[in-house]
Amino acid sequence: MTSNRLDWKDFLAQRRAVLDAWPTGRDVADIEDGLRYQRTIPEDKNFAKVMSRAKASGRTLIQPRAGVALIDDHIRLLRYLETEGTADLLPTTIDAYTRQNRYEEAARGIEKSMTAGTSLLNGFPAVNHGRDGCRKVTEAVRKPVQVRHGTPDARLLAEISLAGGFTSYEGGGISYNIPYAKKVEIGECLRNWQYVDRLAGYYEENGLAVNREPFGPLTGTLVPPFISHTIAILEGLLALEQGVKSLTLGYGQGGNVLQDLAALASLRELADAYFREAGFEDYDLTLVFHQWMGGFPEDEAQAFSVIATGAFVAAAARVEKTIVKSPHEAMGIPTKEANAAGLKATRQVLSMMADQRICADNAVIEREKDLIRREVGALMSAVRTASGDDLVQGIVRAFAGGLLDVPFAPSVFNRGKVLPVRDNEGYIRLFAKGSLPLGDDITSFHKERLQERSKAEGRPVTFQMVTDDIYAISKGKLIGRPK
């Protein structure tokens, strides 16, 4: 099963072109330099190690999103988040130009931010700041730092940031394409991510733990658990194939507590089962739960409550990490104070719930876990059939045939025929299943649950109901009921 590992010679050949894309690529030409540098990083600043420790101790770590245009400002921001915000793990969120490999525009954003005296970029342009800029950042803080982005072709960013002392790298060939891009061909993207995973695997081979985290929530908008789970597991398999060892799979809060708890429990179980079945044993799996990734309420008090419900689920599910939103979410990139407020609110719930065992032995959770298991099973076996012995090809074919389909995604390579909607208790179900290869038992369960809601609301299930559900949480409800 490691047969698809990228050949090292091919990797090195590709590497030259990758590093040539922007002048800062030259600084990382010596691949050994990155290894040497990473060896100097203490254990408690290594993301993989810290995640692993959280798993052993049953703690849930908290991590914000944050990134600004200029190095010193970015350092100040991260320091504030680790002291005032008590963040356990730090991010470096990359700006949207860098994500599209538009380094000239990023350069202009840096300049404009310098003259404006405030960040005009929505993230940290790590490629432009280069290896030494990254090292300045990772050295300036006490906690492990992860690159968080949304970059379809993230090879140069990976080279620079790993050599720059980051010890975790978010993303994957599906999850950083379908929700984040419009015209990026899936096969090409997956191959570029094989490069990233191969690079991380190379660090691992040299005894340096690098954490990899596929982006679980996808479009963040009513994604049924089985869709994001299948993609997370596929990206996990692709990463393991390239030698990745420390793997964090993610899931975004759906809003129904029992469905979310079932989703998190089944993600761990299913991933382990599929990885082992594929012959992988020597890996370290952890989970990340994203607080509500869809539209937030504008009102900050209400936003705090959305954050708290997310924290509540994270605590009850005992995930290793939760990504924290801020009370500014609906309005714009948070100030450092708002970001820290989100962290502190989350910490309070996690601490208060740390020793409690709620929702244990719940029959509804078991029902939902079983459903998710069957749904993921259906998609995985369809992808497998489409794959032959090349998972990349299988994924490409699956998207083309609508066997994989992400709701509301911008990519033209995604069919976009699947429409989710909430049932009468707020569980995310399928209204339109598109070409997803689900059996009748499954689809009729979804249908029944939706009929219940339709009856309760006295209206048919239509796109209007979907729209209502998209808005619901931002308007203070879970379910977008009429009136």
Binding site: A96, E298, G332, T335
Partner: protein, 139 residues
Amino acid sequence: MDAPRVVLGVIGADCHSVGNKILDAFFSEAGFHVVNLGVMVSQDEFLDAAVESDAGAILVSSLYGHGLIDCEGLRQKAVERGLDRILLYAGGNLVVGKTAFEEVERKFKAMGFDRVFPPQVDLAAVAELLRKDLRSRKN
């Protein structure tokens, strides 16, 4: 009478597609002919589509924070392309960070936008305004 034609899209390197799909559905339902360019639309693509479809308005979304950079010069380019009377609307999370809406509005109006909307805007009210603005432009 023909449905009034509008061009819709999310500008720049912005991938936020959810609002775009809703805007498309809403304005179509409300009786407009919507030319939806989806996400990651360049200024030229907006203008090309407006010329091609003979649209009366361009509805620009920007969610991700780079709105100021991405929208700069759109009005001038429109004039260069002969779209002198085209309406420019902008909406979404137009700047980086939580900012008083008045300030955002001022900046975008200074760049030549006719109307500017915060994310929580009531779309029915926008459709109303759009219809009115299109009518008065006609004369």
